[in-house]
Point group: C3
Chain length 412, copies 3
């Protein structure tokens, strides 16, 4: 390969890495914005922890576990040999798995993805999860679950051989996080006051909508890197097509969610618009490189519609997901993965079958693993804070800090 082209690819991938990094700020702001002020420090702490431990664990375990799929093909994973130092290839510039840019960039880009899966869970369990238990869960989920399921497809494993397609991770990242969110929300139970005895649903409004909105803008920006970088080169036609389909799906998702909720509830619902944007982004992620302009608009619009229906459906199941993570990442993740069999270059019944196999296989694995970790934690150290702590806020109890000490606040 031309040395200059190699350099260009690497520049593009480093920029995409930085953008995916920034998604962790986006998730942080979205999560605190959509929850109550008394748990703000706790959520921020979880997010900086996930990112930090995620990168370190990915260096020590995840990267070598995920590529080149040694978990499946070998008895003793290569990473034991390479532990603590990464397996820097001889020439210093490429690995066997990837020849278009450097090994270091490959590690860092993938590492930023790994941390995302746990961040998705963080929003769903907010305001009542026990911090220490969540941190232990994160270590297992980022350190083992994400790289193992990732290796099945992106590491050249059996789902890749089968023909399952997931361009940038509707399933491999978003659903992986979404399944754990679902299990965790179920095992944790709802926040006090969410589902009332008379059967009504109590609104627990988010405390800082400007920051939530800023979070969504930053997530959308991050998706330029998340999807744009998943081309794994700076190939002009592919990368720019991906950005176009990504942005059109986001915009369509937001517009559809706002319109559907306007029809249903007669109000201009900003939360639905924002989650619709995210739903559109998750929905296009599995096939962003395969779709036309009109495909992207349709996929995004359906995702946005699913958000409105999904959020209501989750509520009716008495599952309490404060930020809508299950609707955004799991429901739209599944939709996006199926959409590869319905729209675009690969569309067809055969592909739809392969997509379904991937969804089910990864779903079963994630649900099982998440359940085992969480049920062990629940039966031992516990996964939920005390009622007193939940009422008074996790910030004071676990962190001894207020997020906004100069402001007069309503407690609820």
């Amino acid at each position: 390969m031309d040395n200059t082209l190699f350099t260009v690819n690497n520049v593009w991938m480093m920029i995409c890495t930085a953008l995916v990094f920034l998604m962790h700020l986006g998730f942080s702001l979205l999560e605190i914005g959509l929850t109550r002020q008394k748990n703000t420090i706790n959520i921020l702490f979880k997010n900086v922890f996930i990112l930090s431990i995620g990168i370190v664990l990915y260096a020590l375990v995840g990267f070598n576990l995920m590529y080149p799929g040694t978990f499946i093909n070998g008895i003793l994973p290569d990473y034991f040999i390479n532990l603590f130092g990464l397996a820097m290839p001889e020439n210093g510039l490429t690995s066997d798995y990837n020849v278009g840019y450097t090994y270091w960039t490959d590690f860092l880009f993938q590492g930023m993805f790994a941390a995302t899966a746990a961040t998705i869970v963080s929003g769903a369990v907010a305001e009542r999860v026990k911090l220490g238990s969540f941190m232990i869960f994160t270590i297992f989920y980022v350190g083992l679950v994400y790289p193992i399921t990732g290796s099945w497809k992106w590491g050249g494993g059996w789902l890749d051989d089968l023909g399952f397609y997931d361009f940038a991770g509707s399933t491999l990242v978003h659903s992986v996080g979404g399944w754990a969110a679902l299990i965790a929300v179920w095992l944790l139970g709802a926040r006090i006051g969410k589902f009332k005895k008379d059967g009504t649903i109590g609104a627990i409004p988010g405390h800082n909508i400007p920051l939530a909105t800023a979070g969504v803008f930053i997530l959308w920006l991050g998706w330029f890197g998340f999807n744009g970088g998943s081309v794994l080169s700076a190939d002009p036609g592919k990368t720019s097509l991906v950005l176009v389909t990504t942005c059109l799906a986001a915009a369509s998702g937001g517009l559809a969610a706002f319109l559907v909720s306007l029809l249903r509830h007669k109000q201009f619902d900003l939360s639905m618009f924002l989650n619709g944007l995210l739903g559109g982004l998750v929905g296009i992620t599995a096939g962003a490189d395969l779709m036309s302009v009109s495909d992207a608009i349709i996929i995004g619009s359906i995702a946005g519609t699913l958000i409105v229906l999904g959020v209501g459906f989750i509520d009716r199941l008495k599952l309490d997901d404060p930020v809508g993570a299950i609707a955004v990442h799991l429901i739209c993740g599944i939709w996006g993965t199926l959409a590869v069999g319905i729209f675009g270059e690969l569309a067809g019944w055969a592909q739809l079958g392969k997509q379904s196999i991937g969804i089910v296989a990864i779903g079963v694995f994630c649900v099982t693993f998440a359940f085992i970790i969480l049920i062990i934690l629940k039966k031992t150290v516990g996964i939920r804070v005390s009622e007193e702590e939940e009422q008074e806020g996790l910030d004071i109890h676990e962190h001894g800090m207020d997020a906004y000490p100069d402001f007069r606040l309503n407690q609820h």
Copy 2:
């Protein structure tokens, strides 16, 4: 063209696209920061709507209308042929109009610009405009006005033939938004409490200055892409010169505005500093590629001075522009366009004349079009919320949401 150089150009243009995208977060934060908390959701909703509908409309209508200037040269615009799917060129990589990077990048970069024009209006009409009417206005303005006036210059139309120069849109983007802001502010009338019966001007302070300041930083960052991308290639000498003149004009604009307001009002006025930075940015935009270091500093300083004088002037005209959008985007947009005839490589009376023709022609078109749309809306569905809604806040009335439900607030 060298394939690798094509790739580099495309990477640069994609990055600039992402930066211009982020300007919509900057505008959102600036606008909410400089207005009252009770209208925060409403402003955020407008901004995510403008961006979303802007991108979709630009795919369906705007892009094909603007390039290659079919509105002027043909009876039946090409876009009817190409509707819903964009006119992907045969080789998939370039269009006739632009050969340095991909068609997709071209579309997305220009689409981000299109949405900007309506966003500028959003700030000026904040806190009293009726949401539905503003949304209809946005559809016409982003879908038709921006691409039509844009085609006159950037689409190779008559202003381009004439020799009018507007590098990155002091007129084509900022004044196009600014003229509509002027007309809208005039037709809407001032917010209750702004101009008192005794002739004094009531201060309506912005509710979140940290977010407003963050918005300006993000806008400045976005201008790296707005101006840097308007080179339409990664040409090293041109792009980097443009970044230098852009940053120096911003800095000089801020410093000048702060110094002039310090002399006039004996206070270190942060709002003026921030608007001065933006004024400097708008002022350099028409000729960022033509100016020397000293030109940029002078242009920026004059723009910053115009901000202080302009904000006072708009107030004396009894026009209520909550965020200073008219001073920043219209006055400094005009100044920047004229500056191309006064400073830099093209300076001269002939050029100054051409610049003036462009300013007047686009001004007349925008004023006329904005007036027609808005007067029809005013006479039919109305463009202003009820007095009760204005007093209580648009957030509760149109969105059923509070921006900050956990905080105790002052109502005003």
Copy 3:
């Protein structure tokens, strides 16, 4: 050099420039978040002023003073010849000093660094420094001190000849700011209420932890450019290695700081986590291009530990540093510079000696210069606001503005 490779290098350096620019938003948010609401406008004003004046001064004075080291080698610095217009090289594309990308990019990248040194001081002196005096200090420090000490190493001066190594500025940027912070904090005295008569230390909690956290995320992002750009080319192996070591050191620093503070204080301390991340970033900066994965993790972990110990140590010295700038930038800056002699490719006693000479020489110069400027200001116009102003807040007194006028606030 290949023209396309030149273009790639320049694109990378422009992106890094934009990222370092954004660090000024990060510093602004961190500083206001960790201080009280009544001084928010003041801190934001200082930060936009520092950035603006920093860029303009770097064009007029700093850049020509720093490169190619004319302060040391010549009697009459070249910049008097080149004043106001920069010394644009003949071919318009490169300077003698740097041949890999354009002169303009070089100027802007370095200019963004220059402003950083003064920004570091801004946090340490927050909540009681007199604005006008701080602005005068900034002009001297950004205009003279930073470029002079910078020229010793990066301008090819005597420290460079000696073999002192400082890749991206643990000493040349962070300690230069940190030494001035130390002197300023000492000369200013503590904020009212920080050190009580009974010997206890009064907690003065920061008023907006979400914004402080956002600031740290943005600073980390900025470090992709700060360190990544300090390669001074887009060399794939070097840039991507630098990003990996930078991110691992940050993550390790945060984790170490949180664990050490958990052991000491039995709480999950978000402030320590955040400052630990920053400490890790400052610590890796001097040798980010020399370290292995395990070196980076160790250097970061030690930096994070030093943060916890350092913040306590500064407190015991009765020095009041509201944001922990001295621990982060001075202590970890020194640590990072020494680490080049202990870890990585250059490790050895000889190098450790050279690193020590550089630390001491620059420390003596900065301490002396900062002391002279500040003592003159103290004895003439004064450097500290009145007790009344400090109690009521600098925002009302110097700016006539509230940061959050719609919110009900606690005064303290």
